[in-house]
């Protein structure tokens, strides 16, 4: 199991040249080989969504993909959300609305919501609940996550 593949991962506009075993998950490669530890690993079987990143602008579970499958494709992680010192509307809304407690699930929720809102900016509350039910949070009871995403959606609509 030691055959390695030299691949380029395009993350947040930067190119990371990594040498990975075929079995290495995208989540592990992002964290261990690219040093982007904002993407968290909570279950490694695709249920909790803490490892959610955007691949080709679509939310994916990075624990359910091999790094080699993501080579040369645009990847976005939580580290790429803010524009310089200005937080993304979702990041600001999570801070304003107490949308996080321990913060472990937060990067996954932020990337899930970012992907969903970019694809459909005018989601109804029902649609939001459906999409956000993809990920698990153990601290907030989801109340303030929904509130945060609604607030961010409104803010993003204003900015358009």
């Amino acid at each position: 199991m030691t055959d390695r593949h030299d691949i380029d991962l395009h993350i947040n506009g930067d190119i990371y040249r990594v040498s990975v075993e075929a079995r290495k998950t995208l989540a592990d490669a992002i964290r261990d080989d690219c040093g982007l530890t904002g993407t968290h690993i909570g279950c490694e079987h695709g249920v909790c969504g803490a490892c959610t990143v955007l691949l080709n602008d679509q939310p994916v579970r990075s624990c359910l993909m091999f790094a080699v499958q993501a080579k040369d494709k645009p990847i976005r992680t939580v580290e790429g959300l803010a524009k310089g010192d200005t937080p993304h509307a979702l990041q600001q809304a999570f801070m304003d609305n107490h949308g996080l407690q321990c913060g472990f699930c937060t990067p996954g929720f932020l990337m899930l919501a970012a992907g969903a809102l970019e694809a459909k900016p005018d989601m109804s509350e029902e649609e939001m609940v459906h999409v956000l039910s993809s990920n698990l949070c153990r601290c907030t009871g989801y109340h303030n996550i929904l509130k945060s995403v609604k607030a961010a959606a409104a803010e993003m609509a204003k900015a358009r």
Binding site: K24, L136, I145
Partner: protein, 780 residues
């Protein structure tokens, strides 16, 4: 009542929903969790696939490096103590030593240069186990002749508490009616989203080891691990970085953490073990596998006069450090009567060993179960008396304070009746009852369930000592310093892991010392940088660490006032600290606080003979404890065809005393209630009769998503009790304590036309369908 706390407390930081200082890093992916640290070496564990047996030998592949019990002869065993005649102490080896006691027990540790390589070697490790018959169920473990989990014990009872008030027999015999309930709480799992993990690094220069780990109690880890490894405690530094939830599971000492420090010491390199979800589900710590048989004696007017309880708590294979296997059994016994006035009480409460994963406290510990027991009993009794569930609670909730309970607990000022009356009004209940009967006409089953309870919080050493704990938690220390620029640093012994404690403590300190919260830095989670403390658990940190901060901040304030008075040549009584400056009332002079601070350090000669140089104070707090209280109401609709339950509404009317940061208080309630709803409807760790765990993935163990949890309706009363100096009461566990009872009372209310009621947790669709089939009211 709920309202705009911002305006109510406009002149103080306490009472305001300010944003959390913790959040900026976390939303930018700049937090630092244990798994984020790189390591030279990685450990994975070989774990037993059987629940009970003799481990004959372990063969680690020649190409791999590993450890088995025989390699650890100089390491101690985990042996938590309760000083009680009914406690049987058991020992837990770091790696199984000849005997296997639960599925998932570590039997070998493999060390490799990557986690993947270590896992390859784990798979290639051979072991030979002679399987023996396990005992899994708590009642089976109590039966005569049951296999013993620890050979040398006489039976599987590891702790047995008893209460028997002097007038019990006579009072019980005088009852007009006895109401019996038989409660089953199926095994729970805290499921912090970040699994456990440890990273140890050996410093060749100093010979010290730094353990960074996902824990709720860094100082307790340091003491325990240093002792087991016979390491000078000063040579071990424990850092708890960002911790992704704990809920009690991470207050316990994992044997794995001990081993990681040992490997770092042995190899003089950095080494990490990051638990995976399967390990976390099968071999971390579980909770609340309990049975309660309750007989409640009532007078003819539905007044509770005596209760008789027989409680059995499955403690698993070992007793955890520091809180021991007595935690669920003894807390359950001491607090079962809850918020009800009943002075005659008999109880036997046993903690029973089985071949299952050991137990830890999980948000609420045994109180979700005892609250469930009392609240199901109250609804059952109301039905038998033919009175309303609200009415029976009105007749029995305590309303004179302080109230001394049958087990000697002192209930401070609270609002047990008021919160329920507010809930009745805010729902409003009468409208819901109308809607319920209207829906029933159309074959739809709405249910409304109440739960009223107390949440004992913020208790210090005397409360823990009453259990006979060898390691007695309770107090907290704070070191609070103002630096020469006028900013404040508070080093706390407690350790928050998601509760926003850095924010709330800064609010408490800000009001005392005239500095805004953003200029206050709270340091926590590093044993090298903080005074000894117990960590965060038992809804204690805001009350106890907050109390210590207030004590320390008042001392700091007194010194600032003394310095200002001297500099302005007025009496100290004439000086007030306002935001940003000290002011002399008589002369209207003022000095900015940064100037006072600079003077205290750099112009100490001006204070010669008046004050020591510098601005450093200590705060200590060890309170007796206080009770928060709340009423929870669940409104559910039950689909009798599928057994599905939809929680339509969930209302909480809470009294947690003074709210330091209402936004954070609400967040604690939201999270607790979500876990309570999960406890009522979804979550269950299941073992088969051979002790195999059937819920080892998140496809089998079902935490709720946003779709299963409703939006919450919260109301607050603030009763300022003198039981705590901040007048704040703990709030961390209440949501989880009250919710299971409210939900199952609501389900039972919904299905009352069928004569179906539930006395177990969780109430799954299968159980609802089975009960309806048994009642002959549903198609099979």
């Amino acid at each position: 009542m709920s309202g705009d706390h911002q305006t109510k407390h406009a002149t103080t930081w306490v009472g305001r929903s300010i944003r959390r200082v913790e959040d900026r890093a976390l939303v930018h992916g700049e937090g630092c969790f244990t798994a984020d640290l790189p390591a030279d070496l990685h450990v994975r564990f070989v774990r037993s696939p059987v629940a009970s047996g003799r481990l004959k030998h372990v063969t680690i592949p020649d190409t791999a490096r590993g450890l088995v019990a025989a390699d650890l002869t100089r390491i101690g065993r985990i042996k938590p103590m309760l000083h009680r005649p009914d406690y049987v102490a058991v020992e837990q080896p770091i790696l199984a030593d000849g005997v296997i006691r639960f599925v998932g027990e570590p039997i070998a540790a493999i060390i490799a240069s990557s986690p993947a390589e270590a896992e390859d070697h784990v798979e290639a490790t051979f072991y030979d186990i002679d399987e023996t018959d396990p005992v899994v169920d708590v009642l089976a473990a109590l039966a005569p002749g049951a296999p013993r989990v620890h050979d040398w014990t006489k039976h599987n009872i590891l702790v047995e508490g008893r209460v028997d008030t002097p007038g019990f027999d006579a009072m019980f015999a005088s009852a007009a009616r006895i109401v019996e309930v038989d409660i089953t709480s199926r095994r729970q799992h805290a499921l912090p989203l970040e699994p456990r993990g440890a990273h140890a690094d050996f410093d060749r220069r100093t010979g010290r080891i730094t353990l960074t780990c996902s824990t709720q109690s860094p100082h307790v880890m340091r003491t325990a691990i240093a002792e087991l490894l016979q390491l000078p405690e000063a040579d071990l530094r424990v850092i708890a970085p960002d911790v992704g939830g704990g809920f009690g599971q991470k207050m316990m000492l994992p044997p794995e953490y001990v081993l990681i420090v040992h490997v770092a010491r042995m190899t003089k390199r950095s080494v990490a073990w990051i638990e995976d979800r399967r390990e976390n589900l099968i071999a971390s710590f579980h909770a609340r596998d309990m049975r309660v048989k309750l007989k409640a004696a009532f007078s003819a007017d539905a007044k509770l006069i005596a209760i008789d309880a027989d409680m059995a708590s499955n403690v698993g294979a070992y007793s955890g450090f520091p809180i021991t296997c007595g935690v669920e059994a003894l807390m359950g016994m001491a607090e079962l009567p809850g918020p009800y006035d009943v002075q005659q009480y008999r109880c036997v409460s046993r903690g029973v060993a089985t071949n299952t994963c050991p137990m830890a406290p999980y948000r609420g510990v045994s109180r979700p179960v005892i609250t469930f027991t009392m609240e199901r009993m109250m609804d059952t009794a109301a039905a038998k008396f033919g009175i309303d569930p609200i009415d029976i609670r009105r007749r029995n909730l305590i309303d004179k304070f302080p109230y001394k309970s049958a087990t000697g607990l002192t209930f401070d000022d609270a609002t047990y009746r008021e919160v329920m009356e507010i809930a009745v009004r805010e729902l409003p209940l009468s409208q819901l009852r109308e809607r319920q009967s209207e829906m029933r006409k159309h074959g739809r089953y709405l249910g409304i369930g109440f739960s009223t309870f107390s949440e004992r919080t913020g208790y210090g050493t005397p409360a823990f000592a009453a259990r006979g704990m060898e390691s007695t938690p309770g107090y907290e220390n704070v070191e609070i310093a103002m630096d020469p620029s006028g900013n404040v640093t508070a080093r706390i012994g407690a350790f928050p892991h998601g509760q926003g404690l850095k924010t709330t403590l800064s609010q408490i300190i800000a009001d005392e010392v005239g500095v805004s919260p953003e200029k206050i830095n709270i340091i926590a989670g590093d044993t090298d940088q903080t005074p000894y403390g117990w960590g965060s658990f038992a809804s204690r940190s805001l009350v106890i660490s907050g109390g210590a901060c207030l004590v320390g901040a008042r001392k700091l304030k007194a010194k600032l006032v003394r310095i200002a008075a001297h500099l302005m040549k007025v009496a100290p009584e004439d000086v007030t600290l306002e935001p940003g400056f000290a002011k002399a009332r008589s002369t209207n002079q003022s000095i900015p606080i940064p100037e006072l601070a600079r003077t205290a350090y750099h112009k100490a000669h001006l204070l010669y003979g008046v004050a020591d140089a510098g601005l450093v104070e200590q705060g200590f707090y060890d309170p007796p404890g206080t009770f928060s209280n709340a009423c929870h109401v669940a409104v559910v609709e039950v689909d009798i065809e599928t057994g599905g339950v939809k929680v339509e509404r969930f209302m909480v009317v809470e009294d947690a005393g003074r709210l330091i940061n209402p936004m954070i208080v609400d967040g604690q309630i939201h999270g607790g209630v979500a876990q309570g709803i999960a406890n009522a409807l979804l979550e269950e760790i299941i073992y088969d009769e051979r002790g195999n765990i059937l819920t080892a993935t998140l496809a089998d163990f079902l935490p709720p998503t946003m779709s299963e949890v409703p939006r919450f309706e919260l109301h607050h009363i603030e009763t300022y009790s003198d039981a705590t100096i901040t007048e704040a009461k703990g709030i961390g566990e209440g949501g989880a304590i009250g919710a299971p009872a409210a939900v199952v009372n609501a389900i039972s209310d919904a299905l009352s036309p069928f004569g179906v009621a539930f006395y177990e947790l969780p109430v799954t669709p299968q159980r609802i369908r089975a009960a309806l089939r048994k009642a002959g009211k549903a198609n099979s």
